[in-house]
Every structure is written in C-alpha cells, then in structure tokens.
C-alpha cells in the first residue's frame, strides 16, 4: 500500500494526545485502504470476543475447587436477546449449589464470560493478585457460562455469601476487546439494584493494570464488609480509600 494516491494529514502529532483514530489521511474524501482494513480487523476482533465460547480451563486448572456452571440462556444468540435469562442460574446449576446452601462464604467470586470471552484470559492473573489480598476471608469460586452481572445475586443468595464479586468480560470496543469489569454487591440476593453495586472497570493490561485493579477491588470489598453495604453510599468512602 503506497501513499502515492492518498493525502496524509500533516497533523500526525495529535496522536500523541489520544488513541482516537486521528489524522487518518484520505483517498479523495474517503478513508485510505490501510485504514479501512485496520478498522475491519479491530471490529473482527471485537466480534470474535463476543461470539467465541468461554474457556474456563486455565481457571479450573489453577483452582480445581471452582465449580463450572451456566445461566438459563442457551447459547450466545439467546444470551444477547434475553438479558433476563443471563441473570438467572440454570436449574441444573442451581442444583449443583444446593448442597452448599448456607455454606456462607465471606466472599463469593463469580467469573463469567459476559460480553467478551477474550477478557477471561486476564482472569487467572487477576485472581492471583486479588486472592492474597483477601487473606483471612473464606472464598468460594464459581465459573459461569452466558453470565450477566446480576447472576451473582442469585448464586450469592443461595450460598448465603457476605459479599459477591463478579468478574466478567465487558462489552468490547474497537480499541479494547478484552477488558474485565468487576462488580461488588453486599448481601447479594435476587432483585438487587445496580445502584447497590460498586464497579471497577476497564481491567486489562494497558487499561487499569491488574495489580492496581486487584488493590482497588480488595479495598472496596473490605470496606463493604466493614460497613455492611455497597453501592452509592460506599462510593464516597471508596474514592478516599483509593486515593
């Protein structure tokens, strides 16, 4: 691809200030071929992140006690159309948890595919950073296919967990298709509102780095257990905590 047929923009230096797609040049008034292809490749990576099935193998290998479960959404197409089904445990999975009912872990950690299975590759490293920071607390780990944030409410209620922390793939953007989001809910139970959660987002190398994400999440989690709440009321305090 030569630049002979295209005009480059003489303000390339702007790219130092943002990773927006600036100074792309033009062929006539249209995008040069190389930019059309770069964009399409980024979109392909994002689509693949949405549609590739989750692989919990590495997590199961590292934490053999973890339980692999699924939501009521049968497959990706239904997951996308029916967010309500992704928020509830499949009856088979609920049955798996039944014997553990009222085991009452201090912390329930759910790892879910969310909208980006590609983000799961950061989950083992994030847990390796996070778990030592939860020293002294009992932890139960669940791995859930076709999972939405509120699924941790039902799972946490079944287990009688003190607080639930769900890590799942965020909606992929073109520039970041593999970000994890972490959502924390005190005393999880079905029907909790989003305003009762706290969130740490954009967790990935190059975004919010994993060690920092683990530190923030652990501080939020300990603050939540200490104060007996989560959500908007915890936000003010957590901002100070995180300074």
């Amino acid at each position: 691809m030569t630049d002979d047929l295209t005009e480059t923009a003489p303000w390339q230096g702007l790219r130092a200030f943002t990773h927006a797609r600036l100074a792309l040049g033009r062929a006539g008034v249209s995008l040069p071929t190389r930019e059309v292809l770069k964009f399409a490749q980024a979109h392909a990576a994002a689509q693949d992140a949405v549609w590739t099935p989750a692989d919990f193998g590495p997590l199961l290998e590292a934490w053999p006690d973890a339980l692999e479960l699924r939501s009521r959404a049968e497959g990706r197409a239904e997951y996308l159309r029916r967010p309500d089904l992704g928020r509830r445990l499949h009856p088979d999975s609920a049955a798996v948890l039944e014997p553990l009912a009222a085991s009452a872990p201090d912390v329930l950690i759910v790892v879910g595919d969310g909208l980006s299975a590609a983000a799961l590759r950061h989950a083992p490293a994030l847990l390796c950073e996070l778990l030592p920071l939860l020293d002294g607390l009992s932890v139960r780990l669940l791995l859930v296919h076709q999972c939405r944030v509120a699924l941790a409410d039902e799972a946490g209620e079944l287990l009688g967990a003190g607080v639930s922390l769900i890590l799942l793939g965020e909606r992929p953007g073109l520039s970041s298709f593999d970000s994890l989001g972490a959502y924390l809910t005190f005393a999880p139970r079905v029907g909790r509102l989003d305003s009762e959660r706290n969130c740490v987002s954009n967790i990935r190398p190059g975004g919010l780095e994993l060690p920092e994400a683990a530190r923030r999440t652990a501080s939020l989690l300990r603050a939540s257990l200490r104060r007996g709440l989560s959500g908007v009321e915890l936000k003010g305090e957590s901002a100070e905590l995180l300074e």
Binding site: E7, A9, P10, W11, Q12, G13, L14, R15, A16, F17, T18, H19, A20, R21, L22, A23, L24, R26, G28, V29, S30, L31, E35, F39, A40, A42, H43, A46, Q47, A49, V50, L80, R81, R82, P83, D84, L115, R171, P172, G173, L174, S175, S176, F177, N202
Partner: protein, 460 residues
C-alpha cells in the same frame, strides 16, 4: 377488542396498546417485552386492523393513563385542535395516504394536531421509502449561532470524546474534526467524569476554542441537566443545555428528570442569551428501548414510547434532537436491518412532530451490524434530509466504546448528494481555507487553524 381473519386464521387483540405492539416492525426489544407479533401473519393482521383505526380514537384513548403520567397530560393538554382539523376525520391508513400526497406546508400545518400515538401508528404502515419521502418534505430549521436544517444542507456534530477527558486529547480530536470541516451542528463532548467542576473546565475549553478560531457554531458538554444548571450558576459558558429524555414519566424519573426540571433548565439557558441568530437552546437525545430498559414502558411498544419522547422535546423548541439509534444494544435492536428500520422511523416521526432531527447512525460490537449497514442507513437518512449526524474520529468512539459515523462519512454524503453544511459555517470553512469552492482543502501554513495545531504540538 380488535378482531380479524387472514385466510382461515382468526386474530384477536385486546386493546390499542396490544394492537400497536403487534403491528410494529420486528424488533428484539418488543419481543423481549412480549409485545411483538408472534408470527408474520399476526403482524399483518394487526397492521390491517390498525389501518382502520380513526385518529380520533387514538386521541380519545390514551395508552398510558392521564392521571398517572405527565407525558400523557402534556400530549393531551397540548393538542392543537385547529391544526388537527384537516385530518380529524381520517383513519391511520388514510393518514398514510394523506401524508404521501400532501405538500410540505400542509405537513407543517398539522404538526400540532399530530400526537405521538398517531405518528407511531402511521409509521407502522409505512415502508422505508414512505418514511424517507415524508421526512424529506418536512423542513425543520433551528438557529443559535448558525442556521441548521435548511433543505439541501447536512450538518455534523463534532464528538471529540476521550476516556479520561484529557484536555489535550479532547482538543486533538476537535482539531482533527475541524480540519475535516465537522462541527456545524455543535461541538459536543460526552464527558467521562460526572462532576460539575470537571464539566465546567471542559465548557471553558470548548468555548475558548470556538472563540479563538471564531467558529460560527455552538458547544456543549453532554452532562446531566442538574450539572449544567450548577455550571450556569457558576458562570460557565453554556450554549446548549443537554439532556437524555424518554417517553414516559417513569422512564424520565430513571433519568433523574421531570418536566419541571426541564422547564427550569430551559429558562436558565434562555436567560444567558448567548445565541446570535436564534434562541433554540436545548439539545436532547433519545433512542428506542430506553423506556423498556428502565422497566417503564407500561406495555407500550418501543417506537411509540420513542415518539412520546418527541412530545417532551417539542415543548422546548430544541436546536438539536438526536436519536442514538444503535447504541442501546441487540436486546432492543438486534441487527443492521432493525437498526436501519428504527433510524428511518425515528427520523420521520421526529420530523412530522416538527423536530430538528439528527441521527447517531451507530452500532455496538455485540449487535449483528457493521460498517456496510451504517453506510446504508447514513445514505438513506441523508437522502431523506436528516438535519445532522455525528462526526467521530475514524468512526470509533474510544470513550463510549461504540461505532458511529466519521468525518470522512460526512464528506462521502457531501460528494454523493451535494449537501453543504450550514451556510454560516460553510462560509467560515471557505474563509479559513478548509474548503475551496466547497472542496475539502488544507489551510496554508500560518493560518489560525495551522497555528492552533502547532500550539497543541501537532507539528503541523
């Protein structure tokens, strides 16, 4: 109760709400809500029954009770019987025929007599070409520092978003857009941070840029109306008040607003008297699915809820109304076909209601859509006379994580359909050398834009 037979199958619909839902074009949001037709036959049965419903019935039987919903009260109390007179005896099907055979001034004449429910209903009987043709006959012109919406013109919002609101990052995207002649509708930033202080800083940043380069346009930071009211109290340079709005009182409560708050914000913006050519001071955003998303749709289909939001908008004679059509995700609009349909519906419905409609032609990565679908919708809207679309660097919004239209896309429309920007802005482009006889051009070294680039450190 509505009943009919198609072939040997009998269809029954309990009430108007059910009929409207079943008659809607297929959308995943109405399916999620259980309102959509359950078969193609049921949809056609509903459409044929809807065609025979008198407009007077839609006026007399509110879908959401008058007593409990202030948007219904706004619609009913604000209905203009005089404007309604020429169409008062028509059915929904006859209204479609009337719209297609009427001149622009007749369409403008009945605006105040059309309710959202009538407009939504008639759109359900219209094909894509009907939605486009009727929309193209509705000219809605608004003014603040330039003139937007003139027939044959096509404007863009410059959307310079940055994930951390970094001032240099925001300025960099602004300059990239200006070098492509974008931003006549507004230079409008979605802030990443939700604080009054941060938004005030951004308001000054954008206003300084506008004044330095003497651009005949307006700026906006798209934060919650309560933040903007505080910014106004603090003396910040607010051109336009922005707010997301929906079509039911409960959904608006989810946005943290009601009509009284919007009234207050509108009065505050007018009191600043910053517009040089006109006093359209509000910027609203909407989108099908927002009421369902807030669990506040009252069993009303998502298109009808959307048009009810336009009743809210028109109370304030806004400069800009933008339906962010593909942003909400595949649970409301599943794929390119549904996004295209919704975009054409919203544009036509908004224009019929007398609103300066723009469309954020966009999609998220979990929807079954791509750039080709956006090219189709952009072209259809431009041919229909849409007032404005977004201009995002490379079509990739790195803060909101979705794909919209690019500066290049706007020039594609200008080349294909010969649609210049707002006249005052087009004159500015010529004056500063960004265009030469309407063609995109590079201003010479030493000109104000090149100096602005140099100052920021672009090395131009």
């Amino acid at each position: 109760m509505f009943q009919t037979r198609l072939g040997h199958i009998a269809y029954t619909f309990a009430d108007l709400r059910e009929l409207l839902g079943r008659a809607s074009a297929r959308k995943s949001g109405d399916e999620l809500a259980g309102l959509a037709a359950r078969s193609a036959g049921e949809r056609e049965a509903a459409r044929s029954l809807l065609a025979d419903v008198p407009l007077q019935t839609l006026l007399d039987q509110p879908l959401i009770p008058y007593e409990t919903d202030e948007i219904t009260r706004l619609i009913v109390d604000g209905h203009d019987a005089h404007a309604f007179a020429p169409i008062s005896s028509l059915t929904v099907g006859e209204l479609r025929d009337w719209l297609l055979s009427s001149a622009p001034e007749q369409l403008a004449g009945v605006r105040g007599g059309l309710t959202p429910e009538m407009v939504s209903a008639v759109c359900k009987l219209m094909r894509s070409q009907d939605l486009m043709l009727v929309a193209s006959r509705c000219e809605v012109v608004t003014r603040f520092r330039n003139t937007l919406g003139l027939r044959g013109h096509f404007s863009t919002r410059l959307q310079p978003n940055h994930p951390t609101d970094d001032p240099r990052g925001v300025l960099a995207s602004c300059l990239d857009g200006l070098m492509f002649g974008a931003g006549d509708a507004v230079i409008g930033l979605n802030p990443a941070l939700d604080s009054v202080d941060s938004c005030t800083g951004l308001l000054h940043l954008l206003d300084d840029l506008r004044q330095t380069l003497d651009i005949p346009t307006q700026t906006c930071v798209l934060t919650h109306v309560t933040n903007t009211l505080q910014a106004i109290d603090g003396g910040a340079p607010v051109d336009l008040v922005f707010q997301s709005i929906a079509g039911t009182q409960r959904a608006n409560r989810g946005f943290g607003i009601d009509l009284a708050l919007l009234d207050e914000a509108h009065a505050a913006a007018l009191s600043l008297n910053r517009g040089s050519l006109g006093h359209n001071v509000m910027y609203f955003e909407t989108g099908q699915g927002s009421a369902l998303s807030a669990d506040a749709h009252h069993g009303v289909d998502q298109q009808t809820c959307e048009v009810r939001a336009y009743a809210v908008a028109r109370r304030y004679a806004p400069l800009l109304v933008n339906t962010v059509v593909g942003f909400i995700g595949p649970e409301y609009l599943y794929d390119g076909k549904q996004i295209i349909r919704a975009g054409l519906e919203d544009h036509c419905a908004g224009k019929l209601m007398g609103l300066p409609m723009g469309v954020d032609v966009c999609y998220t990565n979990h929807a079954e859509a791509d750039q080709d679908d956006m090219d189709v919708l952009l072209t259809l809207l431009a041919a229909s006379g849409v007032n404005f679309v977004m201009g995002v660097p490379g079509a990739d919004d790195i803060m909101l994580n979705y794909q919209s239209t690019s500066f290049h896309d706007a020039w594609y429309v200008r080349e294909l359909l010969h649609r210049p920007p707002a006249p005052e802005f087009a004159a500015w482009l010529e004056r500063v050398g960004l265009t030469a006889r309407g063609e995109l051009s590079l201003p010479g070294a030493g000109t104000p834009l090149r100096e602005a680039l140099k100052q920021l450190g672009a090395g131009a």
